[in-house]
Amino acid sequence: MYKARLFAVRHARAFEWLYARLESVMVALDPLFARIGYDRIERPVAAVERVTKGLLFDCRMCGQCVLSSTGMSCPMNCPKQLRNGPCGGVRPGGFCEVKPDMHCVWVLAWEQAPRMKGGGKIRDVQPPVDRSLEGSSSWLRVSREKAAQLHESRDARRTAMARAFAGARAHEPAVAPLAQEPASAVRADGGR
């Protein structure tokens, strides 16, 4: 719905806040999701996501949501699906080149970005959309990716060890392992 989308964009700051809260909840739930199995909850979560985001943002379920980097204005509504800003064809008054009755989603995005806390993210160069992820839940993807990032930062300490003893590791990989250890191999009490 175009009107709902315009409403959401005009209240970008509020929706950004809401989205940030939702994200922390999703990340906190990662262990639970992992336990149930991400593939099991994929379909129901994607269905909920499709309805709510469809209503609010005219979401196209690209599966790689960038709303908080684009002024809460969904770039998939751009007829050229541009992910990095407006094309050169924007009409006077900020209307779309291809659909002259529609406001350019990127003009809206750039108007709202400065009012948002993380508005500077609009300057990030976004990669092309991975079309194989179309229809899948972006929320779950964020949850997985953020959780993986946390693991990565924890792993940084282990890689420091591996780098410091690179010679030994090359000959005896087990002395500074980097691969994920199965839970059964690690004593939960840390050996105390």
Binding site: K80, P86, V90, P128
Partner: protein
């Protein structure tokens, strides 16, 4: 034919050379710009023909003044000879070319392959464009692709060039030496954000920028001031787009039918009132070039003289922008006749 003959490379095969130190491509355009000269590029009107002679015919009025010739990629979503075909022909004849890639018609697999193909044919400049929508073209029923946008395309080619890999991470043994270009439209809304977008394009990998038509110098001046404030001076070469208007009618048509063209009413009025509109259009173009070259941070001009290509040499000669490099006008030049890269 002996086994040896069959394996021998054809004699016309050019060697794939590394660019000179401090250069990314080794193209003539890059060299001219890095030397601090005022550069001239010009747009070629691509033929609706398969005859290579038609390509050279279209290039003839431009080669004298252009450091590189832009071969458009189905601009305005109209079908013509491909940019890569035109660039290959002209490059082999020793002319500098700019291979335009629009994201409208091809996906990432096709484009990355074409970039390697173009580099192998000797093309050293590439212009990354989003492309006009299919609706304005001669075949509006075509499927719009837009797999990349101009920025993800820039970053992709930069990755191919600098990191020697495809977007998939697969290695490229000899990377494409390309001088990376992007477009910007300083006179289109949102005006305040156009310089930011330019910054983003530089961040994505743009080495040079060719702008859309500039008919509104004050707007362009404000744009350039902001570009300088953003610290982009010296990080990217900006070539301002100019072109002669044939008549007031043509100007109005362009304004309402070509996406992203902004022509102030005063400009159209001036041409309307002139006794010889075409002459006035040319005069205006020369004046615009002279005003634009005085703006700090402008590295050259990009001449788009659709169906008025015959005027390009005169316009450049009369503007005097190439005087420092010894170009006086038709037949009076010395070193500029034969150019390579």
């Amino acid at each position: 034919m002996t086994e040896h003959d069959r394996l021998e490379f054809p004699p016309w095969l050019p060697t794939y050379e590394e660019p000179p130190h401090g250069h990314v491509s080794g193209s003539r355009l890059e060299r001219v710009l890095r030397q601090g000269h005022f550069a001239v590029t010009a747009e070629l009107n691509p033929p609706d023909s398969a005859d290579p002679a038609d390509v050279f015919e279209a290039a003839r009025p431009l080669v004298e003044v252009a450091d590189a010739i832009n071969a458009t990629d189905a601009s305005g979503a109209h079908c013509h000879m491909s940019s890569i075909g035109i660039c290959s022909l002209l490059t082999r004849a020793g002319y500098g070319t700019i291979y335009q890639i629009s994201c409208r018609d091809r996906n990432r697999i096709a484009i990355q392959g074409d970039v390697l193909g173009a580099a192998a044919m000797g093309v050293r400049n590439v212009l990354c464009l989003t492309g006009d929508g299919v609706g304005v073209g001669d075949q509006p029923g075509a499927r719009p692709v837009f797999d990349f946008d101009s920025l993800s395309l820039l970053r992709t080619i930069r990755t191919m060039r600098d990191d020697g890999m495809f977007l998939s991470g697969r290695r490229i043994t000899r990377p494409p030496h390309m001088f990376l270009g992007a477009a910007e439209n300083p006179c289109a809304p949102p005006l305040d954000w156009r310089p930011e977008r330019l910054a983003k394009k530089v961040e994505a990998g743009a080495d040079f920028i060719q702008t859309n038509y500039i008919f509104d110098v004050p707007v362009f001046e404000r744009f350039m001031a902001r570009v300088r404030d953003l610290g982009l001076e010296g990080r990217v070469f900006i070539l301002a787009g100019v072109g002669p208007l044939a008549s007031a009618r043509a100007a109005r048509w362009m304004r309402s039918n070509v996406p992203g063209v902004h022509i102030p009413d005063a400009v159209i009025e001036r041409i309307e009132k002139a006794a010889k509109p075409a002459e006035e259009g040319k005069r205006l173009c020369i004046e615009l070039i002279q005003q634009i070259r005085e703006i700090r941070g402008v590295a050259g001009v990009h001449v788009m003289a659709y169906r008025r290509e015959h005027q390009v040499s005169e316009i450049i000669a009369e503007s005097g922008v190439l005087q420092a490099r010894g170009f006086q006008g038709e037949g009076k030049h010395s070193e500029r006749n034969h150019r390579f890269g």
